[in-house]
Amino acid sequence: MAKVLMKGNEAIGEAAVLAGCRYYFGYPITPQSELPAYLARRLPEVDGVFVQAESEVAAINMVYGAGSAGARVMTSSSSPGISLKQEGISYIAGAEVPCLIVNVMRGGPGLGNIAPAQSDYWQATRGGGHGDYRTIVLAPNSVQEMADMTIAGFEFADRFRNPVLLLSDGVLGQMMEPVNLPEPRDYDVNSKKWALGYKGSDKTERNLCSSIFLDQDELEEHNWHLYQKYQVVTDLFSKGEFKDFAVEEHLCDDAEIILVGYGIISRILKTVVEKCRKRGIKAGMVRPKVLWPFPTGVFERLAKTASQFLVVEMSCGQMVEDVKLSVDGKKPVFFFGRTGGTVPSDFEILNEVDKLVRPD
C-alpha cells in the first residue's frame, strides 16, 4: 500500500480498524479528538460500533463490557480524561480483560492546558488506579509508530489478557507524517475461551469476567496470579521475545554521555546527538519504546561504558526515577525538563549537554 500523509490520531484510528477493532467508546477532549472523529466515520463502514459516551467513566466501562465479550475494543482520551477512566482500568486489569487505551498527553495537573506534555508517566507505569496491577505501556515516537504500536498493543493485550496503554502526546497526535499502513488482519470475536458468550464445539461456555473476590484467600491468590503474569511479561520484554521491540539505542557503543527520552523527545534527542557528534562530543541516545515493563537491562549495561546519563522529559522528572533505579547509582543521572506544554528545543538540550561535558 502506498504511503499516506496522516495525523498521528488518525493513524491510530485506521490501525485499530486494520487490527480488527470494531468497537470504540470515548468522549472528546483535545488534543486527541481527531481519533474519535475518525472512528465515528470509519467504524460504521466496517460494521463496527462507535459510541460517544456520556462521560469518560461510562466509556471505559463500555470497553470493559465489550472486552469481556471477546471483542477487540479501544478507548482514548487525554490526561484529565484518562484520570477519570482509572477506576475502570483497575477493574479491567483485575478482571484480566484485554483492551487498548490511548492517552494523548496534555499539560497537567488538573485542567492544565491542551498543549503537549509527558507528565502522566507515573500514572501510566504504576498502574494508575487502585490495587496491585500493571498495564503494558507503549510509547511511539512517530506517526508510523502510532499505527504500528496500536496493532502491537491489541496483540499484547490479547496475549496477556491485560489492558495496554498507548502513551502519546499532543505533538504526536496532531502531527502529520507519511505512514505505511499494514494489511488488515482477521480477528475472530469467538477466539477467546474465557470470554463471555464464547461458543465451544457444541455449547456456549458459562464464563464470568469479574474483579470481585470477597474471600481474602481467593483475592490473595488472584493478586499473586496477576503478579506472576507481570513477571512473565517483564521477562519477555527484558530478555525474551520482545527484547528488541522494547528499546531503541542510537550511537551508544562509544558514548560518554547517554541521552534518555521517550516519545517526541527522542526525536529531538536524535538531532541533539547529531549536533553533539559534530562538535566532538561522544553522545548517544536510549529510547524506551516500552515504558512498562521498563527496559532496565540496557541501562545496567551502559552504566558500565558511559560516564553519565541525561534524562529529558516534558515533565518535572518522572521517568528519570526509573533510569536511576536501573543505573543503580553506578553513574550520575541528570535531568532536564520543560513542562506546562513547552517542548524543549534541541538548542536548550544541547546547552545542558555542554554544561555536563564541559563543566568549566
Binding site: I114, V171, M175, E177, I264, R267, D346
Partner: protein
C-alpha cells in the same frame, strides 16, 4: 538554503488556509519521494486569531520534526511577521503576503519575497486561493519540490473536487510561480535600502 532539508513555518489568520498550505507542501514532498513532517499549532485560538504550522521537507529521515529556526517563513498576515521574523535562519527567506503586509524595516540578512497573494487570488476570481499562490511561489525557490510536483500532487489533496475548483487551484499555483519567475519580488538588501532612503 541547504539542499538536504527545508524547514518552513507557515502562518496567518485562521481562515487563510495556512494549515492547508502546509499540507499541500508536505504532501507534495511526500509524493516527490522526500521525507516530510507537518505540525500544526493547536492552541486555544479565538476566531480571527492566528494559526501556524511547521513543515519539514528532507532528503534524509527527519529526526526532530520541531522547527525552532526556520529556513523559510511564509507569512500571510502582519502578526505572523512580528512573531516569526526574528526566528528565521540568517540567509533564510521571508515570503510574505504583500496584500496585507506593508513594506517595512525587515532584517537585511534574509531574502525577502513579497507576493501580493490576495490581489492575485482576487484576479483569479476566488480570494480563498491566496494560500495556493504562495505554494506556487515557494516551489520556485525550493530545492526539494518543483512546480510540476505540486501540479501532480493536487488531485490527491482536493479529492472529489469539481473540475473548476481544480482549475483555479492550478491557476493559483501558476500565478504564484510566474510572479517569482518574472522577478517581481525584491531582495533583502534592496528593500532595506528603499526603506532607509539610501
Amino acid at each position: 538554503m541547504s539542499s538536504k532539508v527545508e524547514r518552513i513555518i507557515l502562518a496567518g489568520f485562521g481562515g487563510q488556509g495556512v494549515l492547508f498550505l502546509g499540507k499541500v507542501i508536505a504532501e507534495t514532498g511526500m509524493h516527490a519521494g522526500k521525507f516530510v513532517s507537518w505540525i500544526p499549532s493547536y492552541g486555544p485560538e479565538m476566531r480571527g486569531g492566528t494559526a501556524n504550522c511547521s513543515v519539514i521537507l528532507s532528503e534524509n529521515e527527519i529526526a526532530s520534526p520541531m522547527v525552532t529556526v526556520p529556513d523559510t517563513v511564509i507569512a500571510m498576515n502582519r502578526p505572523s511577521v512580528t512573531k516569526f521574523n526574528q526566528k528565521i535562519k540568517a540567509g533564510g527567506m521571508l515570503m510574505y503576503n504583500s496584500s496585507l503586509i506593508e513594506r517595512q524595516e525587515f532584517r537585511d540578512d534574509i531574502r525577502l519575497v513579497e507576493i501580493p497573494a490576495n490581489e492575485i487570488a482576487e484576479e483569479l476570481g476566488n480570494p480563498k486561493v491566496a494560500n495556493l499562490v504562495m505554494a506556487g511561489a515557494y516551489s520556485k525557490f525550493s530545492k526539494l519540490i518543483t512546480f510540476d510536483d505540486l501540479v501532480a500532487c493536487l488531485p490527491n489533496l482536493v479529492k472529489g473536487a469539481k473540475k473548476e475548483m481544480l482549475d483555479i487551484n492550478l491557476a493559483a499555483f501558476k500565478k504564484g510561480f510566474d510572479f517569482v519567475e518574472e522577478k517581481k519580488y525584491m531582495f533583502g538588501r534592496y528593500v532595506y535600502s528603499v526603506f532607509k532612503g539610501i
